[in-house]
């Protein structure tokens, strides 16, 4: 039985195998309250799988994941979300047929049961919160637009906005700036920094400049194992990291 810790998220000895192939192998990782952690690593290192495991999309073969000292490996996705873990997918995952307003509204953390959603009313409080977030993600003038008509970058923002409405304590972002223009990247960096002030954030990212701009600590994954953990400078100067990742 793993002991209690002060960490927000404590992953210990986590393993998952698909038909014998270990995508994540005996991984141990701790995330502090209020920390912004970036996970990098070459393709197939198991980065997205780690997020899948934390968020309950994939079930682990062995090991434990504790969130606020609560074991979450056996829980279903929505239960984990309700504990306060939010997630953004690699490709923008929004509801194309709903408007920007409705997209944000659906993420409002209230009335998520059958009865709750039948009786859910857009009270002034709910609407105010949604308008606030829409302002933050630069979409306040596009509230009635169907989401499929947004640009790629705007879609990414909308999904980040959905997370903000959801107000999780831990946010996990899978390549949040993929496909963005340089200007959009800068704006997103500001957005994420702001977001990280009140909560813990785990980000998976390929873009090294972007990582350098935002990261507190960086974890390098390789073949499902941790290769190196430390500040950006420490990681960049590590010879083994250079070999497997930065080298090419």
């Amino acid at each position: 039985m793993p002991s209690n810790t002060d960490f927000l998220l404590a992953i210990e000895d986590l393993t998952v195998s698909f038909d014998g192939f270990k995508a994540v192998d005996d991984l141990t990782l701790y995330v502090d309250k209020g920390e912004l952690r970036v996970i990098i690593g070459p393709n197939g290192a198991g980065k997205t799988t780690v997020l899948d495991l934390i968020s309950g999309k994939t079930k682990s073969s062995a090991g434990s994941i504790r969130y606020n000292n609560k074991e979450i490996t056996k829980m279903r996705e929505h239960e984990i979300v309700r504990l306060g873990i939010g997630r953004k997918f690699q490709t923008p995952s929004i509801y194309d047929k709903l408007t920007v307003f409705e997209n944000l509204e659906i993420s409002y953390p209230q009335g998520r049961s059958i009865n709750g959603s039948l009786g859910f009313k857009r009270t002034d409080k709910v609407v105010k919160r949604i308008l606030e977030v829409a302002e933050e993600i630069f979409l306040i003038d596009l509230l009635d637009l169907e989401a499929e008509l947004l640009s790629h970058g705007q879609k990414q923002w909308l999904e980040i906005g959905m997370l903000l409405v959801q107000d999780p304590e831990l946010v996990m972002l899978d390549e949040p700036v993929a496909g963005m223009t340089a200007k959009e990247r800068d704006e997103t960096a500001i957005l994420l920094k702001k977001m990280a002030k009140e909560r813990s954030v785990i980000i998976i990212e390929h873009d090294m400049d972007f990582v350098a701009k935002i990261a507190d600590r960086v974890t390098v994954l390789h073949l499902g194992k941790i290769l190196k953990e430390g500040t950006m400078e420490e990681v960049q100067s590590d010879p083994t990291v250079k070999e497997v990742y930065l080298g090419h």
Binding site: F18, D19, A23, T49, D52, K57, T58
Partner: protein
């Protein structure tokens, strides 16, 4: 009444053999679907009509032979089987080209469209061949039985059925694992874009796989004429069973298909021994539903990275 040990053994052997025959029937029903549904992820509600198409090919060919070429009566079966494969293959090819190829991204819609196709095929059988039940005139050697011992009688048609099932399955395994076309099919089902990017014509691969699956169903159907007569709506008897046998086994698992065929054969033999046909069916289905409640992805299902 007392049975001698020898008699009991004989009964067990013969009963097991009829069970095995039933398993082969289930497996044959599911084999074509295994490619279409299990591998390509496309549902073909007209699947049963392809079985019937095979049956009709056999029946009509047998009529032709007995009327015009009586000297072939004993051997035509050997010719009828490739013929039913060919015809079902051809129709399947056309269907894929005109209909299925437009719907790969909409599996539920494929289901509706192919149901429409099945109605059209059924009505074509009725209009162009006739509404009455027909059956094939089978050569005598196929109707006989083989006496393994004094008390054990094994029907020859059952042996042929078993042989055919084994042959088709081995052929299918060889096709998917060893031939270029089969490997392409596997690659396409696993990652369509990537395979396309490698310069493989995924469209042709799909068309060919679909047609092959239809052809296999044609062979299966041709053989069903040895057990039942054929009518335009005969497919209705197959459709539910052939899907269930595949779902129970776990989509995309050939071993699963055979295990579940055996499971269904065993169950239905036992049930039909104790009760009337329709109640046996009800209980069989209910057992299947309950089994699937536990194993929602089928009995043989491997964890994959999504």
């Amino acid at each position: 009444m007392e049975y001698s040990i020898e008699e009991i053994i004989s009964i067990v052997v013969m009963q097991s053999f009829s069970g095995v025959s039933l398993m082969c029937i289930y497996a044959l029903m599911g084999l074509g679907l295994y490619i279409i549904f299990g591998q390509m992820g496309v549902i073909n509600m007209a699947h049963a009509e392809f079985l019937v198409l095979g049956s009709y090919t056999m029946c009509l060919f047998s009529q032709l032979v007995t009327e015009h070429m009586p000297f072939l009566t004993n051997y035509y079966v050997v010719l009828a089987i490739p013929l039913s494969f060919g015809i079902a293959f051809g129709v399947g090819y056309l269907v894929e080209w005109s209909l299925i190829s437009r719907l790969y991204k909409r599996p539920l819609d494929t289901l509706l469209a192919t149901w429409g196709l099945s109605l059209i095929m059924q009505q074509s059988f009725r209009t162009f061949i006739g509404a009455r039940e027909t059956s094939a005139t089978l050569p005598e050697w196929l109707l006989g039985s083989w006496s393994a011992t004094d008390t054990i009688d094994i029907p020859v048609s059952g042996l042929v059925l078993l042989g055919l099932t084994i042959l088709l399955t081995l052929g299918l395994i060889f096709y998917t694992k060893k031939t270029r076309m089969g490997l392409r099919m596997q690659a396409t089902t696993q990652n369509r874009e990537m395979t396309g990017a490698l310069g493989i014509n995924t469209k042709m691969t799909d068309r060919f796989s679909f047609a092959i699956a239809c052809g296999i169903s044609g062979i299966a159907g041709a053989f069903f004429t040895t057990m039942a007569s054929t009518s335009p709506s005969a497919g209705e008897n197959y459709i539910v069973d052939s899907f269930l046998v595949l779902v129970v086994g776990g989509l995309g698992s050939l071993a699963g298909l055979f295990v579940s065929a055996g499971f269904l054969a065993l169950l239905s033999s036992i049930l039909e021994f104790f009760m009337t046909g329709s109640i046996a069916k009800v209980i069989l289905y209910v057992i299947i539903f309950i089994t699937l409640m536990k194993f929602t992805k089928g009995i043989f299902y491997s964890k994959v990275r999504s």
